[in-house]
């Protein structure tokens, strides 16, 4: 196969690759933060936080990420006076920030459902045992429930990160050219279809590395 296309555009592709990593990394970190109150809401005893969390999860899991990204990026422009009053307009003007926020909000819904399911998967006896030991609510979660739930949720979380890597390719719709965006630009200049095959190989490499990393992580969690 002819490699000149990739060699010539290596710099651009690398820039796109870095942007993909930055998008995925920041989105995953923000999603982790948003997940905590969501899971607490889903498991809450009072109705309002539960209803809110459920609506949130339904909304973000029920509609396409592309529509959510458009809603956030273009929709925020309509709320500009409000956002300016709050002093955060400069953030929402930025395509990178909007993309990260959209990915984080979306991913958090999936991760919250995942963690919630993992906690549901633990036997009732774990809670009872913790209560019998006189552990408080926070200590129960931190010392008993979460260490076990994380093990259950880890494979699903790995898949979620991979989905995020793949999903990051849609930011070209809001003028942010990450790896696939760069590839699309190269294609529209050269009309050389092989660039798509190279892009596919790059993505397969990235995803394989992430898969391997999570496999090692799982093994270290299950080492006993």
């Amino acid at each position: 196969m002819d490699t000149s296309l990739v060699v010539e555009n290596a710099g651009r592709l690398y820039e796109g690759f870095k942007l993909t990593l930055a998008l995925v990394g920041s989105a995953a970190a923000c999603a982790a933060i948003i997940t905590v109150p969501l899971v607490l809401g889903l498991r809450s005893n009072s109705r309002i936080p539960r209803a809110f969390s459920r609506t949130y999860v339904t909304f973000f899991r029920g509609s396409p990420l592309l529509a959510q990204l458009f809603l956030l990026y273009y929709g925020s422009g309509q709320l500009r006076p409000l956002l300016e009053d709050l002093g955060v307009w400069w953030l929402f003007r930025d395509a990178f920030f909007c993309s990260v926020l959209a990915f984080a909000l979306n991913s958090a819904a999936y991760v919250a459902a995942l963690v919630n399911g993992a906690i549901d998967g633990l036997p009732e006896g774990q809670w009872e045992a913790a209560t019998a030991l006189g552990l408080g609510w926070v200590a129960t979660l931190r010392k008993v429930i979460m260490p076990q739930a994380i093990r259950l949720a880890l494979p699903g979380y790995g898949n979620e990160i991979i989905l995020l890597i793949k999903a990051s390719s849609i930011t070209m719709a809001v003028t942010l050219y990450e790896l696939l965006g760069v590839v699309k630009v190269i294609y529209s200049r050269t009309f050389d279809i092989t660039i798509y095959i190279w892009a596919a190989l790059i993505y397969i490499c990235i995803v394989s590395i992430v898969r391997l990393a999570f496999k090692l992580l799982e093994q270290s969690f299950f080492r006993w």
Partner: protein, 234 residues
């Protein structure tokens, strides 16, 4: 509100036709994705080493490549192929690949990769005795699969396939980027004309949520129906 209505100045009709195209793309992708996915799953269980490697490679590759990349590659690849064929055969016509066909073919390829995992698990969930019984009845391979194995495997596969269907419905939004007039693109056009960004994009999200909720309801019914022989009457 009249923006979403069906009267003059309302975008109701274009949204409705967009919604139909969305469903059309998903439904076109489904049979190919299901069948090809089953074939990949059978390939992964095959005795031939080459077939196994090819099937596993296919499944892993298309699960790793972004859907959008597959869509672009298929769309532009098919366009180039057809142009090449037409210039070779000296056909003077300007004919481009319909986006709906390219989009649903690409989404079908991805669906096949994911559904092969589910078929694989479902086939593994059928007891060995079923295969042996089919063989001892003298059923040839295809017949044993069609009459004995698949009807049972389908019940096991149904919940997973249902989830994939819902993912497929949402992925159709990506086809708007190759100019297929499905819901997302119709909303984009309406937005460009009216600048009611927030309302219209929120409406688009809700449109997809309605589709996924209807799907969930139907799938639940299907699941109940498929496993009705397991229900104990009190």
């Amino acid at each position: 509100m009249e923006l979403l209505g069906f009267g003059a100045g309302g975008w109701g009709w274009s949204f409705l036709s967009g919604l139909l195209v969305t469903v059309e793309v998903a439904i076109l992708a489904l049979p190919f994705g299901l069948l090809f996915g089953l074939m990949i799953a059978l390939g992964r269980r095959s005795k031939s080493r080459l077939l196994r490697i090819a099937s596993v490679g296919y499944a892993n590759a298309f699960q790793a490549i972004p859907e959008l990349l597959t869509i672009f590659a298929i769309y532009h690849g098919c366009s180039q192929l057809i142009q090449f064929l037409m210039s070779e055969l000296d056909i003077q016509a300007s004919w481009s690949v319909p986006g709906v066909a390219a989009g649903s073919f690409a989404l079908g390829l991805v669906f096949a990769a994911y559904s092969s995992e589910i078929w694989l698990a479902a086939l593994a969930g059928i007891g060995r005795g079923q295969y042996e019984a089919a063989m001892s009845l003298g059923l040839p391979g295809i017949a044993s699969l069609r009459i004995v194995i698949l009807p049972q495997a389908f019940r096991l596969a149904l919940p997973g396939l249902g989830n994939l269907w819902i993912i497929l419905l949402k992925d159709t939004a990506l086809v708007s980027l190759i100019s297929v007039s499905e819901l997302m693109r119709e909303v984009n056009l309406a937005v460009a004309a009216t600048h009611r960004y927030f309302l219209l994009y929120l409406f688009a999200c809700l449109g997809y949520i309605v589709l996924t909720k209807i799907s969930e309801f139907v799938l639940e019914r299907l699941n109940l129906r498929a496993s009705r022989h397991l229900v104990r009457v009190a």
